[in-house]
């Protein structure tokens, strides 16, 4: 076991993947609690598909991937929020529309430029080789920003997540905080998607929050548990991925599934004991 760890840490690309993955898991789980409770779970999924489209186009025109993907996904996040707030196309339909649309455009861009190849596979399911030094710095900055904003605005985020109308009535600028959450989610997803894969990244947003909610009953404990659980599952997942040569993204999601069922059975046991 120790040998495997030492061996893993001797590869610089693996260390980069672990640093970025841990920080992205942390941010995604914090933001995820609000998104899941506000019934916006699918936003993460929609945004990752938009990210796929943007990355494909960036590769086709030989532009820097992050420089294209981050602004496009941020714009899509604002659009999705606006759509789900006040329009005739309801939230879930709007997300499905945008995500499949972006996926199709991405596939077109890839097939017209390089053809369907290993790159597409990597975008879809993630690759630990894709993480550069630049990504490491970006994810460090991002996670500091997310953590700081989360601590500073924790009570306001709670109020808005629990009851947006009441929060607005007491003078909290709910629209502004929604924008902020969407913006941070967008950046988190773009950073994480090349490691986890466009099809799998949204699991980092959804799983830890839902798993924690099986057992924990106050907002603070759910948030804390999600953060620890998300990082823990990521580390176990990457270890499995190294030991059995499985794709990193899928391994992490599988560990999350296991954690979900473990928490779920525990909650069933607890409730049976009470009766």
């Amino acid at each position: 076991m120790i040998d495997v760890l030492v061996q893993m840490l001797s590869y610089p690309f693996l260390i980069r993947a672990i640093v970025v993955g841990t920080l992205v898991s942390l941010c995604a789980s914090l933001l995820g609690v609000s998104l899941v409770l506000k019934r916006y779970s699918m936003i993460g999924d929609g945004l990752s598909h938009v990210g796929f489209g943007a990355l494909a186009i960036a590769t086709a025109v030989n532009a820097a991937p992050l420089a294209v993907a981050i602004p496009v996904v941020v714009a899509a996040a604002f659009l999705l929020l606006r759509l789900s707030e006040n329009s005739k196309i309801k939230g879930d339909a709007a997300i499905a529309l945008i995500s499949t649309g972006a996926l199709a455009i991405g596939v077109m861009a890839v097939s017209l430029s390089t053809g369907m190849n290993i790159d597409v596979y990597n975008y879809m399911f993630g690759s630990i080789l894709a993480i550069s030094q630049e990504d490491v710095w970006l994810s460090v900055i991002l996670s500091i920003v997310v953590l700081a904003l989360y601590v500073i605005f924790y009570h306001k985020i709670f109020a808005i997540t629990f009851d947006e109308n009441f929060a607005r009535a007491t003078g909290v600028k709910a629209g502004w905080y929604n924008m902020l959450i969407a913006l941070l989610t967008a950046v988190t997803i773009v950073l994480g998607m090349r490691l986890m894969g466009a099809l799998l990244i949204s699991s980092l947003v959804i799983f830890p929050a839902l798993t924690s909610m099986r057992i924990f009953k106050s907002f603070r404990s759910v948030v804390t548990c999600s953060a620890f659980l998300s990082v823990f599952c990521f580390l176990i997942g990457i270890l499995i991925s190294y030991a059995w040569s499985t794709p990193a993204g899928a391994s992490v999601v599988c560990v999350n599934i296991a954690a979900f069922f473990a928490f779920w059975s525990a909650s069933l046991l607890f409730s049976r004991k009470k009766k």
Partner: protein, 235 residues
């Protein structure tokens, strides 16, 4: 000076006027019930009072040192709240938000306000319980406590007894009455016209325009009430 004065306001959604020519005022200590059928403009009026919505014309003025963010609002419950993991304490504490200003944390004054309010509404024992495990009546009481944390003057209640069983409904009305007797002004939107005339001091009857505004005693003599209450002049 009145707490709230609405002067000839009209409210509309994209040029579709839902409420017009409405003037009324609420004074300290009043217990005003806003009644009317579905789609009569009650919810829109609430949005205007909370300034979620600007009137098309006319003005809404706050007096007696009441600030707009100091209205204790009890909204209708949303579906998402029913399984929300939050302790009673966390929910009630969030009512103190309007006194924090820019500070990211709650002060000890705010904490003791939440504590007092919990005790006042018999919720202190439940403070560590999860909101989603409470009964409908208890949940509503928690939301009332949160609204009380946000105000010393005025509560704005949107259908506070919707979905509650008769016993709990009665208890809720008693509690609101007690708060009113302790000097808190009440504005309540309600479908329950029988209880409205029983508890309220003033009635505002809406049907896309004001049908009646005045004291409850006068309301009972008016034509609007007879129609709505199903009196002898039924047609």
């Amino acid at each position: 000076m009145a707490l709230i004065t609405c002067d000839n306001i009209s409210l509309a959604y994209e040029n579709n006027v839902v409420l017009s020519d409405l003037s009324f005022s609420v004074h300290a200590g009043d217990y005003l019930c806003i009644v009317g059928e579905n789609g009569s403009g009650k919810s829109t009026l609430i949005k205007a009072l909370l300034s979620f919505k600007r009137p098309l014309c006319g003005s809404i003025q706050f007096g007696d040192g009441l600030r707009q963010t100091e209205i204790g609002y009890l909204p209708q419950q949303t579906g998402a709240q029913k399984d929300f993991p939050a302790s009673v304490w966390e929910v009630v504490q969030s009512g103190c938000m309007n006194q924090s200003g820019l500070s990211p944390f709650y002060s000890s004054a705010q904490r003791s306000l939440a504590q007092e309010t919990l005790k006042k509404l018999d919720l202190w024992e439940l403070r560590r319980r999860s909101y989603r495990e409470l009964s409908g009546g208890q949940q509503q009481r928690v939301l009332l406590a949160r609204a009380l944390c946000a105000t010393h003057k005025l509560l704005l209640l949107d259908e506070p007894v919707a979905g509650l069983d008769p016993m709990v409904t009665l208890e809720m009305y008693r509690m609101i009455q007690q708060l009113n007797q302790r000097g808190i002004t009440i504005i309540m939107v309600s479908h329950d016209i029988q209880s409205a005339v029983q508890y309220a001091s003033h009635i505002l009857h809406l049907h896309n325009r004001p049908l009646f505004f005045g004291s409850t005693a006068d309301y009972l003599k008016s034509g609007a009430a007879k129609q709505f209450l199903g009196g002898p002049e039924h047609d």
